[in-house]
């Protein structure tokens, strides 16, 4: 295993785009962790706000200006990093958990189990994601836990499909057949023999799931369904939009949270793309784009060729 890990890292270092993506991601994680140290102000600080502080343009004291109640925009964006990353990683954790279990079981056991699980997966894939998240959060309440759960429980379909297709090819290999022959249990084979083979692919699609979850949280928060007690990029943009930043041309308030979002999603897409290219050079750029529709498309285009 160590040998393959080493060679993976060696091939990864050659992918400039991937290394850049990783660097961008590490940077943003550092920003999130060290937010209290690097943020120039407390993001909730409005104590001394005067009329001049309302939507004030950038100044030496406030590099990215101030919001409608005089808070420092740069500090808001820095603290927003935390919520975005927490939601992104926590939701992806749920995605990996559900997606792996369903994908492994469906791929390994095949037959009616496979058919049933994949029909359910397709069914969830077909229901429009954002509207579904909106109605659930509108009814269930806008807490951060709800948001993480909703995003996680509605985004595992891609993961399940990816894992399943990989399992289908791995389970026919010699070492799996041999393990079966010497009486290793189904559970043992899945966990010790198949899962390690699927891990790189899980990693590659999980990075895309993180960016998908971050975008979903931002969209929900922008539409007023974010956690009202927390500062996130989406909720900052929601306030900016609702409290007249557009009509006042307060670009310093509108642009940074969006750029931060693009920074994270772009870095994750670049990282995932590089990993995909190493694992499966044939897949290439396809997964750069919306995973849900690209997967459906890939499924439709590749399925008949293999069964021909």
């Amino acid at each position: 295993m160590d040998e393959t890990k080493g060679s993976f890292w060696r091939s990864f270092r050659k992918k400039k785009v991937g290394v850049l993506g990783l660097g961008m991601l590490v940077f943003i994680i550092l920003v999130a962790v060290m937010a209290p140290l690097i943020a120039p102000y407390d993001p909730n600080e409005t104590v001394d706000a005067t009329a001049a502080d309302v939507l004030a343009p950038p100044s030496p004291e406030h590099i990215l200006g101030q919001d409608e109640v005089g808070r420092d925009v740069l500090s808001l964006v820095i603290y927003g990093t935390r919520i975005s990353l927490v939601v992104g990683f926590a939701a992806s954790f749920i995605v990996i958990l559900i997606g792996c279990v369903i994908g492994l079981i469906a791929g390994y056991f095949g037959g009616w189990v496979d058919t049933l699980l994949m029909r359910i997966t397709d069914g969830i894939l077909v229901i429009p994601a954002l509207p579904l998240m909106l109605v659930i959060i509108a009814v269930a309440g806008r807490g951060i836990i709800n948001i993480i759960l909703v995003i996680g429980f509605l985004s595992w379909t891609y993961m399940a499909r990816t894992v399943r297709s990989q399992v289908l090819s791995v389970k026919e290999r010699q070492f799996v057949l041999r393990a079966r022959a010497i009486g290793v249990s189904h559970f043992g084979i899945i966990v010790y023999h198949i899962l390690p083979q699927v891990l790189p692919l899980i990693f590659a699609s999980a990075t895309l799931d993180v960016s998908y979850a971050i975008l979903a949280e931002a969209s929900l928060s922008f539409l007023g369904l974010g956690d009202p007690t927390l500062i996130s990029w989406g909720s900052t943009l929601n306030r900016a939009f609702m409290r007249g930043a557009v009509t006042n041309g307060a670009w310093w308030y509108l642009v940074p949270p969006g750029l931060a979002l693009a920074w994270v999603t772009l870095s994750l897409a670049m990282l995932s793309n590089a990993v995909q290219e190493i694992i499966n050079p044939r897949l290439r750029t396809h997964h750069l784009f919306d995973e849900r529709k690209m997967v459906s498309l890939m499924r439709r285009i590749t399925a008949p060729k293999s069964s021909r």
Binding site: R119, D122, G123, V126, I127, P128, A129, L130, P131, L132, L134, V135, I136, A138, V139, A140, S211, L215, A218, S219, F222, L223, G224, L225, L237, A240, F241, V246, T247, G249, W251, L254, V255, P257, G258, L261, A262, T265, L266, A269, T285, H286, L288, F289, D290, R292, K293, M294, S296, L297, R299, R300, I301, A303, P304, S307, R308
Partner: protein, 336 residues
């Protein structure tokens, strides 16, 4: 035979998904904490009045099955005298209930908003296709060059940016030049239908552009890979021998090649486009389905929310079914 079997299976799948959505839609709006009639009744009402309202809305009945009634009346059909079966009966008649806030049937509210959303998605979709195909063909034509990399990057960037932020940026940039929101100039009197449509067109520019940017990333990919396939074909040599330029060949052949996969992506895209429409319509006060959904969330107008969600889910399920059919045209040998 295989094809009929395939279509039949897709129909059954779509119907089952639809059934799941309908049951889910009923169930979801019943887990809202609190008294369902709290929205339309006042705390000062007499308990008898509240009971009357509850009876009017059928809320005095059990949720799933009315077993008590069936036992009492000794009649099997009485078991269906429940909230769930009333919901199904109403749905089958196109009855989506009454809005809490607007005192109007939900179906009417939705019907009013349908036109603007279709106009927005259609215009955005067409612009995205034109933009995507052009960039995709150019990328394939200059494959592995800087132009190729640049158009890939532009597509990737368009994908990484959430529609609502793109909309905000465009709105802030074009402030003063184009209308900042709405469907048409309020209170304006138009001399002719053409003037009215021109006015709507001016209002449409920014939302449709945002929609186009939201969507065109994946179209670049499809057009590019279709063009690359064409370039690998033998007839390209013949065409070149005839003295046609590579770009012209690509336009003619790649377009034909890309048409079906593109149709599939567009159909599959509808769910994504509708998600984008909610954000875009919110930003530009576009009086469509998405804005209706946003408003009903803000006002806790659950019947409207329920109706809109059902409509969106049905259209996406239908679009996916159509995508499966286009796929049949794409490759008649399909078995999956």
């Amino acid at each position: 035979m295989i094809q009929i079997d395939y279509i039949l299976r897709k129909i059954i799948f779509s119907l089952m998904t639809l059934a799941a959505v309908i049951v889910f839609n009923f169930f979801l709006f019943r887990i809202i904490p609190g008294d369902p009639i709290a929205m339309i009744s006042s705390p000062r009402m007499k308990p008898e009045t509240r009971d009357l309202i509850r009876e009017q809305y059928g809320l005095d009945k059990p949720i799933w099955l009315n077993l008590d009634a069936a036992r009492e009346e000794d009649r099997f059909a009485a078991a269906f005298d429940s909230q769930f079966f009333y919901y199904l009966k109403n749905l089958s008649q196109g009855e989506l209930g009454q809005s809490f806030r607007q005192k109007q049937p939900v179906a009417d509210l939705i019907a009013m908003r349908l036109g603007p959303t279709i106009l927005l998605i259609l215009t955005g979709e067409i612009a995205a296709i034109l933009l995507g195909i052009t960039l995709g063909i150019i990328a394939a034509w200059k494959a592995k060059s800087k132009i190729d990399a640049l158009s890939m990057f532009v597509g990737l960037l368009a994908w990484s940016i959430p529609p609502f932020w793109m909309g905000i940026v465009l709105l802030t940039t074009a402030r003063g030049y184009l209308p900042s929101g709405g469907y048409e100039t309020i209170g304006a009197i138009f001399e002719s239908d053409l003037d009215r449509w021109l006015d709507i067109g001016r209002h449409l520019v920014l939302p449709a552009l945002t929609m186009a940017i939201t969507l065109f990333g994946s179209y670049i990919m499809v057009a590019r890979s279709a063009s690359l396939e064409v370039l690998a074909e033998d007839y390209i040599l013949t065409a070149k021998a005839k003295g046609l330029s590579t770009f012209k060949i690509l336009w003619a052949h790649a377009l034909k090649n890309a048409a079906l996969p593109l149709a599939t992506v567009i159909a599959l895209d509808l769910g994504y486009a509708l998600g984008g429409a909610i954000q875009i319509e919110t930003i530009f006060s576009w009086p469509g389905i998405g804005r209706l959904m946003f408003d009903s969330i803000a006002q806790r107008d659950y019947p409207v929310l329920q109706g809109v969600f059902l409509l969106l889910a049905v259209s996406v399920i239908l679009a996916n079914f159509l995508a499966d059919l286009t796929y049949l045209l794409l490759d008649p040998r399909v078995e999956a």
